[in-house]
């Protein structure tokens, strides 16, 4: 069992991180904690993508060795190099996740200015009071 887990430890870590993130997004009542959960969730996906580029054996970073005039030391073997594409995709995904965090933080500032709190329960209570006040009028 332990060997089974260790053999694919990168996927286990990704799943655990993802569950932590999902729990924080669903279970926590503080909005900043939800946002941190979202970040953990996105990071776990980045970890997943980066780890699928890895190859068994001595595969290394894809820097082609040569004399600079197109004459390589040896023929290029695909198995010698990691797959760089998932890493490149994740550069874009990191940018997306930063943009999402930025928008979410700006929204949190708006919420804090309006309600003076970031606890979801307190905001709900304030909004409920406001709407009942409106219907009483």
């Amino acid at each position: 069992m332990l060997e089974y887990i260790l053999a694919k430890y990168n996927f286990w870590i990704y799943v655990i991180l993802m569950m932590i993130g999902l729990y924080a997004m669903m279970g926590k009542r503080n909005l900043v904690k939800k946002l941190i959960g979202m970040n953990i969730f996105q990071t776990s996906i980045i970890l997943f993508f980066v780890s699928i580029g890895v190859k068994a054996g001595d595969a290394t970073v894809p820097i082609l060795k040569g004399d600079g005039h197109g004459h390589g030391e040896h023929l290029i073997q695909v198995a010698d190099y990691l797959n760089p594409l998932p890493h490149v995709l994740m550069l874009t995904a990191i940018v997306v996740s930063i943009a999402t965090t930025g928008v979410a933080l700006a929204t949190l500032i708006l919420i804090y200015k309006r309600y003076n709190t970031l606890e979801e329960d307190e905001i709900m209570a304030i909004r409920k009071d406001a709407s009942s006040y409106k219907t009483q009028r």
Binding site: K34, M38, Q42, T107
Partner: protein
């Protein structure tokens, strides 16, 4: 020049979006003409692309000259051509109609609004035009992020609704990204056409099954399919009126397009029937979506919130058309994407016009509104009849094909749900129409005297920049009906897979 047209569909609004704040820095009043000028480019290019598809079949465009399996390919076939024209047209009409709403809700932020609007349109067009799975994710996030920014400008509850939307929308996009990862892990390709040839040999691989599950869940969240719809009513009700009119009809429909693309182009239609029973599950989820959406809509007195719940039911229609897995059903689903986008767009424009004139959004505020805003209310009646499925308007035809599809699949519960939902829609809209046209006057005494009425209630119609898009959209709703046969002949029948 003309063979570069597909690139202009994306590049024009994207570059336009970056230049909008520069222009708005000093000349705020120039933002609107600038945005309209920019938005005319994708509409022209998309129209040209659709005509080219109709004439000579689907074609691709290699971005930067890189050949498909490695480079990013823009792929325009019948379905995406139709969606491009729909998105570009509604985007342009939304930008035209936005002016009164901006002066009311978000005065002084014209540059912000038009920048985000152009980015939103870029994202939506990009999802539809690209033939690369990862590129779809990027465009999905472009449109979602600009959508968050637009919705946050809204009324009292908007920031909170936006935050919930960000959390749930990010889960949806991340699930989609995970699906891309699982497919890439098994195949080593990101190009949809390339994947479609590799995947059939791998259908029983667990990796592909997990990837498909992530895809379906992620897209269903973005679409607002029933149990995953919780972000939708709050976000679209609290958003400023021009924003709801832009995002609400398009975002859900583009997600529905994505679901069709994944189930029928990326995977063989057979996959969702025989390998995993996704079609059956989606079908029953759509039944629940239609019933719950209808009942929740009946419970609302705020008309904007009511329309968002109707949208949940309409998403159910489209998913039901996909789930029955036959030719009339899918034809109905694609036709309903077009029709429903026009109808929901028109309803939100009308709500915008009514709010702009200072009337509330509660149903009792509609009393005698036909005297004050006769044109707007006439458009409302036509859209309402179309939503209920009364023949000359377009809503009837898509529902007709959907019902034919459910009957062909022998799913009687689905057919009954569709009919019952039409009845619910009739109740929903007729209680408003009754309030507007038939309710007695408040002042009462001279209500039977026609000439006198005109004096009591002054006509107070919406401004032209809002009224003209409403009337154009209403005309489109009427015209789409009789022409739906032609649309099916020219476009939709080629978008349905040949095995059906």
């Amino acid at each position: 020049m003309s063979d570069q047209l597909p690139a202009f569909i994306i590049i024009a609004p994207l570059l336009g979006a970056f230049l909008t704040p520069v222009i708005g820095w000093r000349y705020r009043h120039l933002c609107r003409p600038w945005a309209l000028m920019i938005l005319a480019v994708p509409l022209y290019a998309a129209g040209g692309a659709l005509l080219q598809v109709i004439e000579s079949g689907p074609f691709g465009y290699n971005l930067g000259g890189w050949a498909p399996p490695w480079g990013i390919e823009y792929r325009i076939d019948h379905l995406s051509g139709l969606m491009l024209v729909l998105i570009a047209a509604i985007g342009l009409l939304a930008a035209i109609s936005a002016k009164p709403g901006i002066t009311m809700d978000i005065r002084g932020k014209e540059a912000n609004f038009y920048t985000l609007l152009l980015l939103q349109i870029t994202g939506l067009l990009g999802i539809v035009i690209t033939g690369d799975l990862f590129n779809i994710f990027v465009f999905l996030e472009i449109s979602s992020l600009s959508g968050y920014g637009l919705i946050a400008h809204g009324e009292d509850g908007a920031p909170m609704a936006t935050f919930n939307y960000i959390i749930i929308g990010t889960i949806g996009a991340s699930f989609y990204l995970l699906g891309v990862g699982y497919l890439y892990m098994a195949t080593g390709s990101l190009n949809i056409a390339d994947l479609a040839t590799i995947l059939p040999n791998l259908y029983h691989s667990k990796v592909i099954l997990v990837g498909f599950a992530f895809f379906t869940t992620g897209v269903a969240i973005k679409m607002g399919l029933f149990p995953l719809h919780t972000w939708m009513p709050d976000a679209y009700t609290t958003a400023p009126n021009p924003v709801s009119a832009l995002i609400a009809p398009l975002m859900t429909k583009v997600a529905a397009y994505l679901m069709i693309r994944i189930m029928f182009t990326l995977f063989q239609p057979d996959f969702a029937i025989s390998v995993v029973p996704v079609a059956t599950i989606l079908g029953w989820m759509s039944v629940v979506a239609i019933i719950v959406g209808g009942i929740k809509a009946l419970a609302q007195t705020d008309i904007k919130r009511m329309v968002t719940y109707i949208m949940i039911a309409e998403v159910g229609y489209i998913v039901m058309g996909i789930s029955v897995m036959n030719r009339p059903g899918l034809t109905g689903a694609i036709l309903h994407i077009v029709n429903d986008a026009c109808m929901i767009f028109c309803l939100f424009l009308i709500i915008g016009a009514i709010s702009y004139k200072g009337h509330g959004r509660e149903i009792y505020h509609f009393q005698n509104l036909n005297k004050k805003m006769p044109w707007t209310m006439a458009a409302f009646v036509i859209t309402a009849l179309s939503m209920c499925g009364i023949p000359p308007a377009c809503g009837f035809f898509s529902k007709w094909y959907l019902i034919l599809g459910t009957i062909a699949a022998k799913q009687w519960v689905f057919a009954i749900t569709l009919l019952a939902s039409s009845l619910i829609n009739a109740i929903l809209f007729f209680r408003i129409i009754e309030k507007a046209y038939l309710a007695p006057l408040d002042s009462g005494a001279h209500s039977h005297d026609h000439d006198h009425e005109e004096e009591i209630i002054a006509r107070d119609e919406a401004p032209a920049s809002l009224l003209i898009p409403i009337l154009i959209t209403t005309a489109i709703i009427i015209i789409l009906g009789p022409f739906s046969g032609k649309i099916i002949d020219l476009v939709i029948q080629h978008a349905v897979p040949a095995t059906f």
